[in-house]
Symmetry: C2
Subunit: 240 residues, 2 copies
C-alpha cells in the first residue's frame, strides 16, 4: 500500500493547510483604510508582507541571527512594509500593530482540511511541520477545530525549513526513522528538501494560494509518493 | 470569578493525569516473570524505577549533563534498576528493554481525565507541562483520547521542572504573562515552583498515586488558587 510503514503525517501549514493570503488581506483591509491607505489592494499588502518572510528566516538559517520565532519576524516585517503603503509605523498605536500581526493566528483552513485531517488522524499521528511558531499554530488550530495530535515545527526544533535540521530533528523528536514520516505540502521545494532527508512526500496543490493568476506549484515537480487534490482526496487515497 | 484572566491550563502528567504506578507495574509483571524475578512485587519495581527519575533529571538541572529527553533517562534507569531485582540487563534482548521502556507511553489516565479535559478545553488552551518528552506525551494522549491543544513541557523548553525556566519559558512560548496560565498538579512542590514564577495554581490530589498507603500530597500545602477533587470537579468549579 502507498505510504506503507508511515506512522506520522506532518504538514506544511501556510498555503497547504490555511489560506494565508485571503486571511491577511481580510484583516489588513480595515487597517489600511484607517491609516490613509484605503486605495491599496489588500491582497497586494498580504503579498508584500509575505515577501519578507523568507529573507527574514534566511538571517536565522544562515546563522547570522539566533533562532527567533516567526511572530517576531512577522512583527518586524510588518513595520518594514508599512512605509511601502505610505504608512509611518510610528504613527500607529503599538496595540494595533500587535493586533494586525495576530492575523496570522487567525488564518482559515481550506474547506477540506478539518474533515480530511479528522479522517487521517484515525490512523496517523498528525502534526504541523511549519515555520510558524507554537502559539501561532495553536491559536489557529483551536479557532478552526484543526485536530492536531501535537504542535511540531520550527520552534520545537529551533530550525527553519528547508534546512535539513527542521526535518531530521522532527524525526528525532518523534523517535521515528525519516521514512516513517510523510510530509504533506503544496510546495515542491519543501517536499524536495524533505525527500533529501529521507521523508516520504505527498503533494496537495493549492492552485489559488497566490491568487487566481498563480503560476507556481500547480503540478508535481517530482514523482512524489502521493499526489492528492485535497485532504479529503488524500484520506481516500489512503483508504480512510 | 476564580482563575479570572487565565487563558491556558497546563498540567503535570505523571500522577496528575495518568496512574504511572499501576501502568508500569502491569507491564513489568510479565517481564519480571519471564526473566526469573516472578517473586518481585510489580508495584515495588515501578517504585524503584521511578525513584531514579528525579536524580537522573538532577544531572540535567544541575548543568552536569546537557538536556536529555526523558525516554533516554528512563531507559538508562531501567538498566540500572534491573540488577536490584536479580536481572542482568545484558541477558535481556535490547528490543525487550526498549519495549518495556515504552510502558511510560502507554500509561492510563485516571477515570475523570478525558471527560474533565474535554469540558475544560471549551474555554482554555489545555496542554501538558510535564517532564515527559514530546512523543511520550503524544503517544499517551493518542492512545487514550486525551484532547490536548498542544504538547508543551520539558523537551519544548529544554528545562526540567521545578527549574523556573520550565515554567517561564512555557509562558514565553504561549506569549502569555505567567498569571494568565494555571498549573494543575497533584504535587504541592510543583505548584510551589509554579507560583514562585507567577503562575496560578490548582491542586487536584491523587491520593493513590503511590498506592493505598500514600502519605504525601494528600492535602494542599498552601492556599492554592483552586482545589478540586478531580478534573470533572475542576471543570464544575470553573462553571464548565
Amino acid at each position: 500500500m502507498v505510504l506503507d510503514g508511515v506512522r506520522a503525517l506532518v504538514f506544511d501549514v501556510f498555503g497547504t493547510v490555511v489560506d494565508w493570503r485571503s486571511g491577511v488581506a481580510r484583516e489588513a483591509e480595515p487597517f489600511l483604510k484607517r491609516h490613509g491607505a484605503g486605495t491599496a489592494i489588500p491582497t497586494a499588502f498580504a503579498d508584500t508582507w509575505r515577501s519578507r518572510y523568507s529573507p527574514a528566516m534566511e538571517e536565522v538559517r544562515s546563522g547570522r541571527r539566533p533562532f527567533t520565532r516567526l511572530d517576531v519576524l512577522h512583527r518586524e516585517n510588518l513595520e518594514a512594509v508599512l512605509p511601502e503603503f505610505g504608512i509611518d509605523p510610528a504613527s500607529v498605536p503599538v496595540s494595533e500593530l500587535d493586533e494586525l500581526n495576530l492575523a496570522w493566528h487567525r488564518l482559515e483552513p481550506w474547506p477540506d482540511v478539518v474533515a480530511g485531517l479528522t479522517r487521517l488522524k484515525a490512523r496517523y499521528i498528525i502534526a504541523p511541520l511549519s515555520n510558524g511558531n507554537i502559539v501561532l499554530m495553536l491559536n489557529m488550530a483551536k479557532r478552526s477545530g484543526i485536530p492536531w495530535d501535537a504542535i511540531l515545527g520550527a520552534e520545537v526544533v529551533r530550525a527553519y525549513k528547508p534546512m535539513p535540521e527542521a526535518y531530521l530533528r522532527t524525526a528525532d523528536v518523534l523517535a521515528m526513522k525519516p521514512d516513517e514520516i510523510c510530509l504533506v505540502a503544496a510546495h515542491n521545494g519543501d517536499l524536495a528538501a524533505a525527500r533529501a532527508c529521507g521523508l516520504r512526500t505527498a503533494f496537495v496543490p493549492r492552485p489559488t494560494e497566490h491568487g487566481l493568476a498563480q503560476t507556481t506549484d500547480l503540478h508535481p515537480a517530482q514523482a512524489w509518493d502521493l499526489v492528492a487534490s485535497d485532504f479529503i482526496d488524500l484520506a481516500e487515497r489512503l483508504q480512510l
